[in-house]
């Protein structure tokens, strides 16, 4: 499956890249990226289907329900780094053109 590089997907990928090697929770990702659950979760689903994201359940204490956690896979990390370098190139080009 081909992954669409929407600004929101790029944002989520960058958030996950910054967090490596830590795992992130859905709500934390939502707060740091400013994305609502209705936007964030379809992106996470697509990333997982493309094998760019690892998921696991974290057993919580104090009788709270287990939480779902996310971390980039090796291919996810490569993909995110590719996006970062593309973004840098675009910024350099824009800078050179005086945009």
């Amino acid at each position: 499956m081909k992954l669409r590089r929407t600004p929101q997907t790029v944002q989520v990928l960058l958030e996950l890249l910054e967090a490596l090697p830590e795992w992130r929770h859905g709500y934390d990702l939502s707060r740091s990226s400013g994305l609502k659950s209705g936007t964030l979760y379809p992106i996470l689903i697509r990333l997982t289907k493309n094998r760019l994201l690892d998921t696991r359940w974290e057993l919580s204490e104090n009788g709270k329900p287990p939480r779902h956690m996310y971390r980039l896979t090796q291919s996810g990390k490569r993909f995110a780094l590719e996006i970062v370098s593309e973004k840098r190139e675009i910024m350099t080009e824009e800078h050179a053109l005086g945009v």
């Binding site: 709500y27 609502k36 659950s37 936007t39 964030l40 689903i45 998921t55 939480r67």
Partner: protein, 240 residues
């Protein structure tokens, strides 16, 4: 617990309940995050966003040939169950479109609203065979015949795919029916029928057809993704 928080929890549970098999884990993930959101209104907004997961229609993941065999068996059992209901039990719902066809023919013969009736009749004539194909008695292989059972499952999924004639007959049938009703309504409007009566007749039918179309598309998406899973699984197996 506040009313807003209770609503948030209820909505999240509802999404978990109705999420497709492959998306259930994601619906549960959204539900479990609720316990970490302190603000009740934010929790409500969070759980409402979860409705989006309902659109992510995904079948249960297939990891091995054994799982595929299990799914094929379950599917074959469902089809056999339909056969065991008897001809009448399986096909009783086909009487409604047949009666509607007859009504449309009568209306055409009597010269009443000919354009609307012709369009409706065409719609029903396209729709009825596809409904029958879905309920016809299948040639289900024995449950211990693994290879043929899996082939049967794959063939049935492929017969419901976008490349098949019944798929497009169904879509065209539903759209023609909606157009036929619209024509009938516009004629009724011209004939001076009161608006509330016209709305009372049309709105439930319109929503029923939309529901039918929505459920058809959801099943189609689920089948298409299941088919892709099987192709991937069998492809992986042949490369091993």
């Amino acid at each position: 617990m506040s009313l807003v928080r209770t609503a948030a929890n209820r909505i999240a549970s509802l999404v978990v309940r109705y999420a497709s098999a492959g998306s259930k884990e994601w619906a549960q993930a959204i539900e479990s995050e609720l316990s970490c959101i302190e603000n009740d209104w934010k929790a409500l907004a969070w759980s409402l966003g979860g409705f989006r997961v309902l659109y992510a229609i995904q079948p249960k993941p297939l990891g091995s040939i054994d799982e595929l065999y299990g799914e094929a068996q379950k599917y074959a059992n469902r089809r056999l169950h339909a056969v065991n209901n008897g001809w009448l039990g399986t096909n009783i719902y086909l009487f409604a479109p047949v009666v509607c066809c007859l009504i449309a023919i009568l209306r055409i013969a009597m010269g009443q609203d000919i354009p609307g009736s012709v369009v409706q009749l065409t719609g029903w004539l396209l729709l009825t065979p596809t409904l029958y194909l879905g309920s016809r008695e299948p040639d289900v292989p024995d449950s211990d015949d693994q290879a043929n059972l899996m082939k049967f499952y794959v063939d049935e999924l492929s017969a419901k795919s976008r490349n098949s004639l019944p798929f497009w007959m169904f879509i065209a049938g539903v759209l023609l029916l909606i157009c036929g009703w619209e024509l009938e309504v516009s004629r009724g409007w011209g004939a001076g029928l009161p608006l509330p009566l016209m709305l009372l007749m049309c709105i439930p039918l319109f929503f029923l057809m939309l529901l039918l179309l929505g459920s058809f598309v959801a099943t189609h998406v689920n089948n298409r993704r299941r088919f892709a899973q099987i192709e991937r699984l069998l492809g992986d197996r042949s490369t091993d």
